[in-house]
């Protein structure tokens, strides 16, 4: 009996049907998955030595300590430094993604003059000429969003060498004794969503009552102990009504409720625009649980106080003032705006010159006193990754413009040497979470090395004497740029509406 064509077909059919009940097709499918997983265009993580490095975040003034896990020289994840005295081991969502910012598409890649690419030399020459053309009744101003840095010193020095240089900054020489505060009345300040260091605020959140006065149902408003919706622009009027309530005078019922809460939770502070009088009524200045004075006070002119149409040349990093305010201070014709920024949006859209700056993690920089800290602070943010060609740190650019041969790292070293010479305060090192008195550090060089490896210097507390006047406005940070991965929050989950 032979093997017929029918037998062949039956065998093939039977084998095919039987195969389905064996693991073979599933294994094949799995194997194809393994192949497809390793296709050349599928991204593969880089391999290399895994290292832990430390730095301090300079994205906003909170100056949080950062632990960077790196493969070779490339950070692959960022985390907080446990026990960091200012940030308490926490980072915000933006801080966690900062190592991805260099890959955003809207970076300023090269110097631009009125939207056209120029060389750095050309930019320096043209800006220098514009500064020299400044008239007798005109000024050259630098709007510094974060006063108190070594970079601020560079800007001041540059302006001091000019006939009409004005240094502008919203300086706030006061810290907030948050750990002893029992109530915060906030006029639109995002207390739980980007105010000071999140780790510091949230560590003591259960210890203070939060009253949010805000027209919008913000995240802070939604989590506050009391939210008082007011009409936009009604902050000052409501603050006045609360003041009346504190004095026991009849006032608006909502303001009376706020006043009662503040009287029940002492010490209390008020934050936000136009709260100086309310703070005076609360007696929150210069005492525990209130605003405390610290040493890093530097005189500066408020930008809003400049005469209208008086600024011929304006230098600025990215700041939070509205462009209409800035414009009102510029001379009517031929004003020159130089923006030292990493990004093509924000002020760069209005600038005559855009000087591309390296990002945080790309250049050696300084994080000054953490926002709201009750003592002065200083830490370094070393360059963990290489900056792109064509970028220049803002203080380096200003030194070049001034024709000063000193380098910015040298100025930072001088500052560290000054800290060592003063001998005050202590240094908290990130790797081992230890505090060392500055006077116990052998030399300025050793102090520099400690700070460069990841550390924060914190001053000794200042003895609070005499009366102090609080500024009317809280300085706030400019909007942050976002990593592409922030899509998890606003696009893929709808957690944040943008």
């Amino acid at each position: 009996m032979g093997f017929t064509r029918r037998d062949l077909l039956k065998f093939t059919g039977g084998a095919t049907a039987g195969l389905v009940f064996t693991p073979v097709p599933w294994s094949l499918l799995r194997d194809t998955a393994l192949v497809s997983e390793n296709w050349p265009d599928v991204p593969q993580p880089a391999r290399g030595e895994i290292r832990t490095r430390y730095t301090t975040c300079t994205l906003c003034p909170a100056a949080c300590g950062v632990r960077a896990r790196s493969v070779g020289d490339q950070p692959v994840s960022l985390a907080g430094v446990p026990e960091h005295p200012a940030s308490r081991g926490a980072l915000c969502a933006n801080g966690l993604l900062a190592h991805q910012l260099p890959f955003c598409t809207d970076r300023a890649p090269r110097p631009l003059a009125n939207g056209r690419a120029v060389s750095m030399e050309q930019a320096v020459a043209r800006i220098r000429a514009a500064v020299e053309a400044c008239g007798a009744n005109e000024s050259v101003a630098f709007l510094d969003p974060r006063p108190g840095r070594a970079a601020s010193l560079v800007y001041r020095r540059y302006l001091a060498g000019l006939a009409h240089g004005v240094y502008c900054a919203a300086s706030n020489p006061f810290g907030i004794d948050l750990e002893n505060t029992r109530a915060i009345v906030s006029f639109g300040v995002p207390v739980l969503d980007g105010w000071l260091s999140p780790g510091r605020v949230l560590a003591v959140r259960s210890q203070f009552a939060l009253i949010q006065i805000e027209p919008e149902y913000s995240r802070t408003a939604s989590l506050a102990d009391l939210w008082v919706p007011i009409v936009p622009g009604g902050e000052a009027a409501f603050a006045g009504a609360v003041e009346c309530g504190l004095r026991g005078e009849p006032t608006d019922p909502a303001a009376e409720r706020v006043a009662r809460m503040l009287l029940d939770h002492k010490p209390a502070i008020a934050i936000g625009t136009g709260t100086d009088k309310l703070n005076a009524a609360l007696g929150s200045a210069g005492r525990p649980g209130g605003f405390l004075r610290r040493r890093d006070v530097a005189p500066a002119t408020e930008f809003a106080d400049l005469p209208d149409h008086s600024v011929r040349v304006l230098f600025t990093e990215e700041a939070s003032l509205t462009w209409s305010l800035i414009q009102s201070k510029l001379v009517a014709r031929d004003a020159v705006v130089v923006v030292l920024t990493s990004w093509l949006d924000g002020y760069a859209r209005h600038a005559d010159y855009v000087i591309p700056a390296p990002l945080y993690l790309e250049s050696l920089d300084e994080a000054a006193t953490p926002a709201g800290s009750t003592v002065a602070g200083f830490s370094l943010s070393p360059d963990l990754i290489a900056a792109p060609q064509g970028t220049m740190a803002p203080p380096e650019f200003m030194l070049r413009l001034a024709g000063d041969a000193t380098s910015y790292p040298d100025i930072l070293k001088q500052r560290v040497a000054g800290l060592k010479k003063d001998g005050r305060g202590s240094v908290f090192t990130y790797a081992d979470a230890k505090s060392t008195r500055v006077r116990d550090v052998a030399s300025a060089d050793d102090l520099w090395k400690l700070l460069l490896a990841g550390a924060v210097w914190l001053d000794d507390p200042l003895r609070q004497t005499g009366s102090i006047t609080l500024p009317a406005d809280e300085p706030c940070a400019p909007a942050l740029h976002r990593s592409p991965l922030m899509s998890k929050l606003d696009q893929e989950s709808g957690l944040r509406k943008v």
């Binding site: 997983e37 599928v42 993580p45 692959v76 991805q100 949230l202 009391l226 957690l495």
Partner: protein, 243 residues
């Protein structure tokens, strides 16, 4: 070879501390090489192994209040629904850790598990994983990227567990110390709202929180024994979570 005592890893999330900042979500995405969204991605088609939902008490202004509930794989310990329906045995409950593991290499992309999951904590890769040019350099070397057409979900940062075990083995230990292994979201939470640990260790902070009178598990009535505990002292939050 020393026999390792089985662990039962779990979490306790304090909803009264959570501010909905999203740090856990982005830390999770960085740790597990989850790519940014495609322009066309939506909350239904995007991938967020941990997703924070905002709920409201429904009161009128100004008494309206919000709570934020981070939802991740609940690591069901009994009749794990996703494992029960997977035709490929791509889902497995690790008896040594209690972690519900997902093996993308085995996954066919049938999405039965997504249908079976009562918590909507599983995500399908609708697109090839893509990062903006150059950003691949920032990928975590301990975690492979997943291909299009497979399901993925939280695995309590398995790469971190392996790394902790490797470190322990190098030191001649067979067991991990408490706190030696924590997922990225726990580490990242600035409010310290998430506590991670071994539910089998009665002395652990997690076990104490799990026993707390204010703790509960979402959809506990289904009997799947999730290992994620939530804690709140606000009755309306608890009621919403049980709904």
């Amino acid at each position: 070879m020393t026999k390792t005592k089985p662990a039962r890893y779990g979490m306790a999330i304090d909803l009264d501390r959570c501010t909905g900042c999203g740090a856990c979500m982005v830390a999770c995405a960085v740790e597990n090489n989850v790519p940014p969204a495609r322009p066309e991605a939506t909350p239904r088609t995007g991938i967020t192994w941990m997703r924070v939902y905002q709920i409201s008490n429904g009161a009128e202004s100004p008494d309206t209040r919000a709570a934020f509930i981070p939802i991740l794989c609940q690591q069901c310990g009994h009749e794990t629904p996703c494992a029960a329906v997977c035709p490929q045995e791509a889902v497995e409950v690790d008896p040594a850790t209690g972690i519900v593991d997902q093996m993308p290499q085995r996954c066919l992309g049938c999405r039965y598990c997504m249908t079976a999951c009562p918590y909507h904590a599983r995500y399908f890769n609708w697109w090839d994983p893509r990062w903006p040019a150059g950003m691949e350099k920032t990928l975590n070397p301990d975690v492979a990227t997943r291909m299009r057409g497979v399901v993925e979900k939280c695995n309590f940062c398995h790469g971190r567990l392996h790394a902790a075990r490797t470190r322990a083995a190098a030191e001649g230990r067979s067991e991990l110390r408490p706190g030696e292994y924590v997922p990225a979201c726990v580490e990242a939470c600035p409010a310290r709202a998430i506590v991670f640990g071994d539910l089998n260790d009665p002395e652990s902070e997690l076990a104490r929180l799990a026993r707390d009178g204010h703790s509960f598990r979402i959809l506990e009535r289904l009997g799947t024994e999730p290992k994620i505990y939530y804690r709140t002292e606000r009755a309306w939050v608890r009621e919403a979570a049980h709904a």
